[in-house]
């Protein structure tokens, strides 16, 4: 049961059909704290942290393995194997949407349906394709990550330290939200923002829901439409929720959309 400790896997719920929630860049499974509990009654809910984030085992972080999304795909499928899951509804946020797509292509028996929250197969604009960022934007971001030891990914530390006067928060804060190792965050940003998975979309053979937010800086409308057009038979739902994290800002709407999709499967 290697992967269960490695990825801090948490299994909850009393239902049969497995639903797996996969967090995006910059946070951990806490991202699903308002959404996942609502599926516990009739699903087997599986939560986990990608290696380098949250409560995962940082000691197994291997820059080679996690130098491409395939390393994360390996982990997802290994969790499914070790928990003996089949026909999983995989809910992936942000970069995890692409991880889910690659997993579903590799093993459609395990990953039986996809819910993609704010997916983007390519962040950089390219010859008629609108990704939302120019190459300079992304390189500027990566440069600032490379040179910024104290700012970006370690920006979380002061939040934890700054709570001496609120000890009741201390324990949870030091142990939970969005813990990120700076080195890992830097490499994950690179993998996330430089990958190009546009050609993979056409190979998806499982039922797919695309959840597109309004005003999403990270994954604009045009990108959601591109994903929808490229995945055969997929459903696109435009949400009223704004920003990149409807799972936090609009849990009701997000839950409703996922439920409607699941009902349409049976």
């Amino acid at each position: 049961m290697r992967s269960l400790a490695r990825n801090n896997v948490v299994v909850k719920g009393t239902g049969k059909r497995p639903i797996m929630f996969s967090h995006g860049f910059g946070c951990d499974q806490n991202m699903w704290r308002f959404v996942a509990p609502r599926f516990e009654e009739d699903h087997k809910v599986v939560l986990f942290d990608h290696v380098g984030f949250g409560g995962s085992d940082l000691s197994v972080y291997d820059p080679g393995k996690y130098g491409s999304l395939q390393g994360y795909v390996d982990d997802v499928l290994e969790i499914c194997r070790e928990l003996d899951l089949a026909d999983v509804i995989f809910v992936g946020h942000s970069v995890s949407a692409m991880i889910g797509i690659l997993a579903a292509i590799r093993d459609p028996e395990r990953i039986g349906a996809l819910v993609l929250v704010g997916p983007s197969p390519r962040y950089i604009n390219d010859d008629g394709y609108v990704g939302g960022f120019t190459r300079e934007d992304v390189e500027g971001l990566l440069d600032s990550l490379d040179s910024n030891y104290l700012g970006w990914s370690s920006a979380m530390a002061p939040v934890i330290m700054g709570n001496a006067d609120r000890p009741e928060l201390g324990q949870e804060l030091t142990n939970s939200f969005c813990r990120t190792n700076p080195e890992v965050a830097r490499q994950f940003a690179r993998v996330t923002f430089l990958s190009d998975n546009r050609t993979d979309l056409a190979s998806v053979r499982v039922p797919t829901l695309v959840l597109q937010c309004s005003d999403d800086v990270i994954a604009p409308d045009a990108v959601g439409e591109f994903v929808h057009r490229s995945i055969p038979g997929s459903t696109l739902v435009r949400m009223r929720a704004t920003g990149h994290c409807p799972n936090l800002s609009a849990p009701e709407e997000t839950t409703g959309a996922i439920r409607e999709f699941i009902e349409s499967l049976s």
């Binding site: 049961m1 995006g24 860049f25 910059g26 946070c27 806490n30 991202m31 704290r33 085992d57 000691s59 291997d62 820059p63 942000s94 960022f133 934007d137 500027g140 971001l141 600032s144 990550l145 040179s147 910024n148 030891y149 104290l150 700012g151 970006w152 920006a155 979380m156 002061p158 939040v159 700054g162 709570n163 928060l169 804060l173 939200f177 969005c178 005003d215 999403d216 800086v217 990270i218 704004t242 920003g243 990149h244 994290c245 936090l248 800002s249």
Partner: protein
Amino acid sequence: MTREPQESDDRLIAEDAESLYEEAPCGYLYTRPDGTLLRVNRTFLEWTGFERAELVGRRFQDLLSIGGRIFHETHFAPLLHMQGFVSEIALDIVTKSGGLLPVLVNSVQKRDAAGLPVLNRTTVFNATDRKKYERELQAARKRAEESARAKSELLSTISHDMRSPLGAILAAAQLLERSGLTPPQQTYVRVLRSSSEALLNLVNHVLDLSRIASGRTTLERRPFDLRQLVLDVMTTLNVRAEEKNLTLRVAIDDDVPDAVLGDPVKLGQILTNLVANAVKFTERGSVAVTVRVKSMAAGRVELDFSVADTGIGIPADRLPHIFEEFTQASYEVGATYGGSGLGLAIVRRLLALHGSEITVESVVDQGSIFRFTIAFEPVDAARAAAADIGRNEAIAGSRMLSGLRALLVDDNAFDAFVLGRALTSWAVTHDVCPTIDQAARQLRDAVYDVVVLSARTANGDVPQAAAHLSAASGRSVPVFVLARSAAEAAALSPGGAIADVLPKPVDTSVLFAKLASVPK
């Protein structure tokens, strides 16, 4: 004279609070939960160069640099939603003129009675100076890291190129040793050999360390016999301990699993470095290794290891530094004892790979104790046996040597223990005597097929001691002599009562073959 606060005071304070809001030394913003700006104070406008009207309808995150915007969406906003506040996030605001203003941002989310977020209050601190210092620090750190990397690469390249010629020097010295030299020549060759060995040891340490530092070292997972590994390490180092008349002790708890899944090479390196150090820095007394179970759960056993010595100890003010590279407790230590100063640095890094740390307690002139904990996965015996060649040899041995009666004559309890363990695994019944006299009495009282005699215990005249023992048995039992070194083994030739000579540390497969030739 005091007076009660009056209504006019409240008004004055309210007016002043308003101007405090506008002119405070930080930016104050109110936004909707989605970031839309509702109210901005004058300080913020002055810093950014915007007019109030230009910010109406814009969102806070739209004012950030691209990198900051991504950070806002992936970190800042989620965190604010989850915990209701964020503190001291470093971001860059793009000012009206296009410049970047480094800021530290704090936000608090206001919620309504139903717990839904309705308003964010954000405080912005100007971090221009701090950012400048951070950049300088980063640049300095980067330079230092690069220079350290360049140095260690150079060192690693040189070390690598030194290894082959050193190997050749050592091999030549060993050949020379066996070529019938005069006593002074033998001394010169011994110096040549021990110096080359020390140098090779240093070179190997440098290479080990640079390999770990470069991240090329990963942990293996394969089944191994933990007891055997500890004993192998001790057996190798017992030769050096014996030269200094030190006692080596091993205590492994009975509930420590025989076979575990882990990295035997790395554990061997850790123990070898620690025990070698302990032997090196101990002049009198003992070196003891213990292994105990700290916790046991399904599929996971945590083992506490300790290496204790009765050596020179480490002064308290040097303790924090002994795990640093190229560091020894003092200049005198380096001069007296030699060594690379890398052993403990390697141990520390190898333990870090295991997610573990080493601790040390030490009292000057009394000794030191090093402790660490590693978690392994226990392996069931059948699976371990398949992977363990030693065990198969033991099974074959129990058929070939079963019934053989041996007397071990060795005053080194550790060697006797290790050898006894091998004999037991081959089903050879045996007794141990620490002195020649006791052994002679034992041989008169009981019947043995073979005597295994440590040259050290024979105390000088090995052939005579062998003859004495053989005669005492009354049936001329063959005597196998265990020499202290290859050189001593070469000097002692079989003949008379001496059936054969083997150097310590004993290669058990060679001993096995020798014993197989003894008539029962």
